[in-house]
């Protein structure tokens, strides 16, 4: 396999390109990344046969792909931060209409105050929208995940939209050697999109019509059921991908040195790489430590996480988002995994890296030290004391 030294955004754009999307719509900013710019170039060069629609806002971008997907086209969009928040109304519509759209959410902070640096507050705010959410650890995974995403979304038993989340700047703007997926490989992995239901005058249908109290609840029930089915599909698609490409970045979760660990750090996204380095460093000193990556956040793989962590004495959840008034989002979900189980480990939650604050090796060491010393609690790590005491 040959690798190309390439920016994360461009690698993602190239993968999306070989998935043969038929309609792409995006708003240039608020803020945007190079992903859609590169796709617009591929379309302009004639390398990608696709309608590329420049629109006036993310709300419109999401609406355009909604319409195109309902008409039976494979569609894609991407956004981040405030733009993502502006899309949210339509994201709920898309999931409710069971449209298998794939989008990239480049993870960045939200206003106010204005901040465009990395954290994961944007996509986590839409965790209840009915979209499958996958989080990428590095650029190879982010790139590969898009091919998997179309296959998961368009599975006839699923028909739900899939969001690939990747950390802004840390992944999107960094260059890595990436094994790019060729057109031939993509075609072998992903069949053309042949929806069972779509808008055609031959067989008139309505999408998203009014449903009263007599039927609305069932639409939610079906999405929830499908989410449970998608747990298997996400694992299967990752296994298929492993078979064809020889690369495996985890299915629902991934673990690193967890088997005999007494302390396990749990996280999502690019921070996993930093943590792995520290795990190696501390293992060399004899500390039994490991890391668990939540790759599929929605559906939330409770059983897999429990299976992987049932022997662990201490868990430290490290996350770049916060549910204000409640604390760490992922930390609380990890706690729920152990509800009703015979043994509950000590679970500490750490909120860090908000608005792009650097997460250094020292930050993670601080988490580990704290986690060993305190009883179950949640806290912010890496605060600027001078600003707080002002």
């Amino acid at each position: 396999m040959s690798t190309t030294f390439i920016e994360g955004s461009i690698a993602v754009a190239k993968t999306v390109g070989v998935c043969r999307p038929q309609v792409i719509s995006a708003y240039p900013i608020t803020p945007q990344t190079h992903i859609v710019e590169h796709l617009s170039e591929l379309v302009a060069n004639g390398e990608l046969k696709c309608e590329y629609v420049n629109v006036e806002s993310e709300h419109s971008a999401a609406s355009v792909v909604l319409g195109a997907s309902a008409t039976g086209a494979r569609t894609y969009t991407a956004t981040t931060s405030q733009g993502f928040l502006l899309m949210i109304e339509v994201l709920f519509n898309i999931a409710g209409m069971r449209l298998p759209i794939v989008m990239t959410c480049v993870n960045r902070a939200v206003s106010a105050p204005i901040n465009i640096w990395n954290d994961q507050q944007d996509s986590l705010t839409a965790r209840d929208s009915g979209w499958i959410q996958l989080y990428a650890e590095d650029n190879q995974e982010a790139s590969d995940m898009h091919l998997q995403a179309f296959k998961i979304a368009e599975n006839k038993d699923i028909m739900l939209p899939v969001m690939v989340c990747m950390d802004g700047f840390i992944l999107t703007h960094s260059f890595d050697p990436i094994e790019l997926i060729t057109q031939e490989q993509a075609d072998k992995f992903l069949s053309p999109f042949t929806p069972q239901y779509y808008l055609t005058p031959k067989n008139p249908l309505s999408f998203g019509t009014m449903v009263g109290p007599d039927g609305y609840m069932e639409t939610r029930y079906f999405i929830e059921k499908t989410m449970q089915v998608s747990l298997q599909v996400i694992s299967d698609v990752a296994a298929d991908f492993h078979n064809q490409f020889g690369r495996f970045q985890g299915g629902l979760i991934d673990t690193y040195k967890v088997e005999d660990a007494s302390l396990v750090l749990v996280a999502m996204g690019s921070i996993i790489g930093t943590i792995k380095d520290i795990v190696d460093e501390l293992r060399a000193k004899g500390q039994k430590i490991g890391v668990l990556k939540v790759r599929s956040y929605r559906p939330f793989p409770k059983d897999e996480i429990y299976k992987a962590l049932s022997h662990v004495r201490e868990i430290a959840v490290v996350e770049k988002a916060v549910s204000l008034g409640y604390g760490g989002i992922l930390a609380n979900e990890i706690k729920s995994v152990f509800y009703g189980k015979p043994k509950t480990p000590k679970i500490n939650g750490y909120i860090l890296g908000l608005g792009g604050r650097d997460i250094t090796i020292d930050t993670i060491h601080q988490v580990i030290k704290d986690s060993v010393n305190v009883l179950s609690e949640e806290k912010f790590i890496g605060l600027n004391e001078a600003l707080i005491k002002r």
């Binding site: 240039p28 945007q32 859609v36 006036e56």
Partner: protein, 248 residues
């Protein structure tokens, strides 16, 4: 009482220089707005500036006045909220074409319709500049930008026509025509109703240089050659700047 005088009293001088690129037209417009404030002697404790997102959106923070930096496209409704809460304030929106005419265009339509007594100054550089140069709603047809590498397939919006059936104040001016710009902004601040001043200005870094301009002065000279002043006309041609004013 504030005894300071001159346009500089409206600026946070200690924050200068601005973050804008050398040669950017935004500074010229910012200064001219302050000169118009000064001409009318607007009270510092009675004037509010609201910006959206983008290079132009950075303006709000440089005024030595109360200001709000809103979400992308939302400057106008936030300004309307301020005006409706305190009618005594002079409420001025300072933002760019991508912000006001793209993502926020819907609000513009309805503020015109509602005749809210606020002033909007639009830095119209024809591009989403802060993010690197993507086509905006007033990028001319066929122009190559990052999102229209094959040339812009769309046609630009012409804001003057939004005012056609509603009373209001519309002016188009340019960063070259300093006296005209100041006149337009001053008149718009005095206008009792909704007013909009579109200032054609240069983004050299993420627009002009890609179109072949060697420097921003060449862009200024282009405005000088292109635009004829036609004030109080019924309608402005593409190569005209001027004022269209209907009774408020």
């Amino acid at each position: 009482m504030d005894k300071e005088s001159g346009f500089k009293r409206y600026l946070k001088l200690d924050l200068l220089p601005t973050p804008w690129c050398p040669g950017c037209g935004n500074g010229i417009v910012l200064k001219t707005i302050c000169q118009a404030f000064d001409e009318l002697d607007l009270p510092k404790d009675g004037t509010v500036v609201i910006s959206g997102i983008g290079c132009a959106g950075r303006s709000a923070g440089f005024f030595n006045l109360d200001s709000v930096h809103t979400a992308h496209g939302r400057a106008i409704p936030v300004a309307e909220g301020i005006k409706y809460a305190n009618d005594a304030l002079h409420v001025v929106v300072v933002s760019g074409d991508g912000d006001l005419l793209g993502i926020g265009a819907n609000h513009l339509l309805h503020a015109i319709r509602r005749k809210t007594n606020i002033t909007v100054v639009c830095y119209a550089n024809e591009i989403y500049a802060m993010t690197g140069g993507q086509a905006s709603p007033i990028t001319p047809h066929n122009t190559k930008t990052l999102t229209t590498p094959d040339g812009n397939p769309d046609y630009p919006t012409d804001v003057q026509f939004l005012f056609k059936h509603h009373n209001g104040y519309f002016a188009r001016t340019s960063a070259y025509h300093l006296n005209h710009m100041k006149k337009c902004i001053t008149e718009s601040l005095e206008f009792n109703g909704f007013s909009f001043v579109e200032v054609r200005t240069m983004c050299i870094v993420n627009y002009g240089r890609r179109l072949g301009y060697k420097n921003s002065n060449e862009m200024l000279m282009h405005y000088k050659e292109l635009y004829k002043i036609n004030d109080y006309a019924e309608e402005l041609a593409q190569d005209e700047i001027g004022i269209i004013k209907s009774s408020s």
